[in-house]
């Protein structure tokens, strides 16, 4: 059974210090957010989203603007800007209106920007 987590009032989905947070299911945000967790599912946001370093998302990440510092397996779809920083890993696909992939990032998959 899929579990959907909605974060409306918090800015971050994070774990208390020293613990790792794991989420099984989809995550939805309607504010700017930072994900510091292992997510076995999709993440959907209507605003800006940062996937922090050492975070892993197994599914698809959709948001307005996305900064990837961690790892996403299922692809990224940004309605605005997408930025893959050095050390980040993205698989499957990258869709954006604007894109920056820094040297040292890892990406392989379908690329569609501005279309």
């Amino acid at each position: 059974m899929e579990t959907k987590s909605e974060v409306k009032s918090q800015d971050e989905v994070t774990a208390p210090a020293g613990l790792g947070l794991q989420i099984s299911g989809s995550v939805g945000l309607d504010q700017d957010g930072v994900i510091r967790a292992m997510v076995k599912g999709d993440i959907r946001s209507t605003s800006k989203l940062v996937i922090a370093q050492e975070s892993v998302v197994s599914g698809l990440v959709q948001a307005k603007d996305i900064r990837l510092e961690g790892r996403v397996e299922g692809g990224i779809e940004g309605a605005g800007k997408v930025w893959l920083t050095r050390g980040s890993i993205l698989r499957t696909r990258c869709v954006a209106k604007e894109l920056r992939i820094e040297p040292g990032a890892t990406f392989a998959g379908e690329l569609k920007v501005g279309e």
């Binding site: 971050e12 800006k48 209106k97 604007e98 920056r100 392989a108 379908e110 690329l111 920007v113 501005g114």
Partner: protein, 178 residues
């Protein structure tokens, strides 16, 4: 005094004939070329030899043969390359277009016009400007910047450049959580 376009020399290493000046192709040119200077393939020109090498190549027309530019290859017209190209830098100006059937392999690229090809590989950075468009089956790069308004589609792959220092940040501003 020998005119510049008539000056030539012989490569001490391979013995190949080198032209020291520049060359402009306005019609059909058969035969290979090896220039120290600039090669201009005019809008009605077609390079039909097997290979053309030059320090700089301005492409306004077509090339059936392979093009190699030690410094840059600049596309200024509605151009086609049948046999591929390689060099240090590929530039496609605003309003210009390049259609390539074979592999294009450059150190870096700035695409302000349109590029259509099968496979394109950049060992360094690729930038697609606001009026730029890249359509390819496969696009390989070590870093990529697509400005707002620019378009790119195909299968992308990052290949890390060995021992390359990090570049400055691109046009997209850092996303800071509020």
């Amino acid at each position: 005094m020998v005119a510049e376009e008539a000056q030539s020399s012989t490569c001490l290493e391979c013995g190949r004939h080198l032209e020291l000046g520049h060359r402009v192709i306005e019609g059909e040119h058969l035969g290979n070329l090896s220039l120290e200077g600039e090669l201009v393939i005019g809008s009605k020109g077609n390079f039909g030899g097997a290979k053309a090498r030059a320090a700089r190549i301005v492409l306004q027309g077509r090339a059936s043969g392979f093009l190699e530019a030690a410094e840059w290859l600049r596309v200024e017209g509605q151009s086609k390359i049948r046999s591929g190209a390689k060099g240090m830098k590929l530039e496609i100006q605003v309003g210009a277009s390049l259609e390539a059937a074979e592999l294009l392999h450059f150190q870096s690229g700035v695409i302000e016009g349109e590029l259509r090809c099968a496979t394109i590989r950049f060992d360094g950075p690729l930038r697609v400007g606001p009026h730029g468009k890249v359509v390819a089956e496969k696009i390989v790069f070590s870093e990529l910047t697509v400005d707002s308004g620019g378009r790119i589609s195909g299968l992308g792959e990052v290949r890390e450049l060995e021992a390359k220092p990090p570049t400055e940040a691109g046009v997209i501003s850092t996303l800071e959580p509020q």
